[in-house]
Structure formats: C-alpha cells, structure tokens
C-alpha cells in the first residue's frame, strides 16, 4: 500500500487551496495599485486537470516518488471580470476578494479535516486496537 494513494485527492486539493489563498492574498495586497488586474483560477477545473492529465513519471522501483505538481499553468490563471471597474484600471473588488479568501480558508480547513480523518483511520488500523 502506498501512502500517496491512501490519502486520495486531499493532499493535492490542500496544495491547490494554499496556492489559491496565495493568489487572493496578492489581489488584496494590490487593492490600490493602478492598472492591476485581479487574478484567480477555477479550482475545480485545475484539480480535475491535475487528476486526469497530470504527468505520471514511470517508476521502476517502489521507492521512486512522483514529482511535485508545479505552479498553476499560465493558461489557467485567469482575470476577474470587474463589476465596477475603476478609473485607474484596477479591477480588485476588496469585498469579493475577502469573501473568496475566507471561503477558500474554510475549504482548506475542510481538506485538512479530511486528511486528519484519514490519518487517524490509518493510525487505528496500524495499532489494531
């Protein structure tokens, strides 16, 4: 049994969530920068792509490990459609980014909860009591 498979989708989801938090943090930091365009990516789409089309390196030994998934591909990094574009060309809507950030944080904690559940399940199985 492989620990990578034991945790299922959750480690990847957790990584993507933290990357999304990073993107939104960048948007919030640039809330007053003239000409800055708010960015984001479609979490569902990127996760699906990583599961289906991810590059799996051929392993010839049990101890070989799969490479880390890199940054979000440039084609998936999209720009937000502004609801109220401002005169200086900035498209960051602080309220929208705040809600996106906190929703993402809650989903991160949910992923973390799933992982914790998996770990305690595995631990129970290992101890056998």
């Amino acid at each position: 049994m492989n620990f990578d498979d034991a945790f299922g989708i959750h480690p990847r989801a957790l990584m993507l969530r933290s990357q999304r938090a990073e993107v939104i943090a960048g948007n919030l930091a640039n809330a007053d920068t003239p000409g800055y365009k708010a960015r984001d990516f479609d979490f569902h789409k990127v996760l699906n792509q990583e599961i289906q089309g991810s590059v799996r390196v051929r392993t010839t030994n049990q101890r070989h490990i799969q490479p880390d998934t890199g940054p979000i591909p440039a084609t998936q990094m999209l720009y937000r459609t502004p609801m109220q574009p401002s005169l200086d060309g900035n498209t960051v809507d602080t309220e929208q980014e705040h809600t996106a950030f906190s929703a993402n944080a809650i989903e991160y904690q949910a992923s973390l909860g799933f992982l914790n559940g998996k770990i305690s399940g595995l631990r129970k199985a290992i101890r056998g009591d």
Partner: protein
C-alpha cells in the same frame, strides 16, 4: 510550502499602506506651513503603487506591491495677501500648501482599511498554517 509566500505578499501590502499613511501624516502636518515663495512651499505628496511584476515570472500566483515613487500634487498653491505676516514677500503675499484636508482624511481611512485587510489575510494564513502543522496529531 507556498503558504509562507502569503506572509511576504501581505507584508508588502502592509508596508506600502503604512508608507501611504506616512505621507498622509506628512501632508496633514504641513497643511499650514506657509512660506514666502512659490518654490519653497510644501506641496501635497501622494504615493504611486506598482505590482512587483519584475521580481517574479509573469505566471507567479502571488504578486506583492511596492511603492514606485512619490509624486507632488500639481494643483495650484494658495496665494494669500497678508502683509503683516512675518514670512510675507516684498509684495505682501504668503503661500499656503495645496493640501486638501478632506481628501487627506479620506485617503487616511482608505489606507488604514487596506492595511487591516492585509493584516487579516496574514492572520488567517497563520491559523491555516498552524492547523497544518498540527495535522495528524
């Protein structure tokens, strides 16, 4: 772990906003600084922010912010006829800075709100990171 980059990004936001607050304080403190010539008079200063695109590749998810420079307001100075003023020039005029107090107050509120939102982002990231460190315990 990419979560650590959030702290850097939020920190750039905080330092940019605190510089902006600094400029607001400077403008308000000098709001009544009169002088006897046009070129010696204080002019309102405003920051110019720029995204840190040059330090990272274009695909980097987190982009910080930095202060690209400070510009002086081009609006006209206030020329006031006051011959009794000790700083009055030969014709009896003094010059007041072009600081608009109402504008500065609004600027101050906007800067402090932006600062707060960066602090909130950093503290949320800290909580998530601490929860991650406790994973499996």
């Amino acid at each position: 772990m990419s979560m650590f980059k959030i702290f850097d990004t939020a920190a750039t936001g905080m330092s940019a906003q605190s510089l902006r607050l600094n400029l607001v304080a400077s403008n308000m403190a000098n709001g009544d600084t009169v002088s006897s010539s046009l070129d010696q008079t204080y002019r309102a200063r405003q920051p110019v922010f720029r995204a840190m695109l040059d330090q990272a590749n274009a695909d980097a998810p987190a982009i910080g912010v930095k202060m690209a420079g400070v510009v002086e307001s081009q609006s006209p100075l206030i020329k006031e006829f006051s011959p009794d003023h000790p700083l009055a020039d030969e014709e009896g005029y003094i010059f007041r800075p072009n600081v608009n107090m109402v504008e500065e107050m609004a600027n101050m509120m906007s800067a402090s709100r932006s600062y707060q939102s960066n602090v909130e982002v950093a503290s949320a990231a800290k909580q998530l990171l601490l929860a991650t460190l406790r994973m499996g315990q």
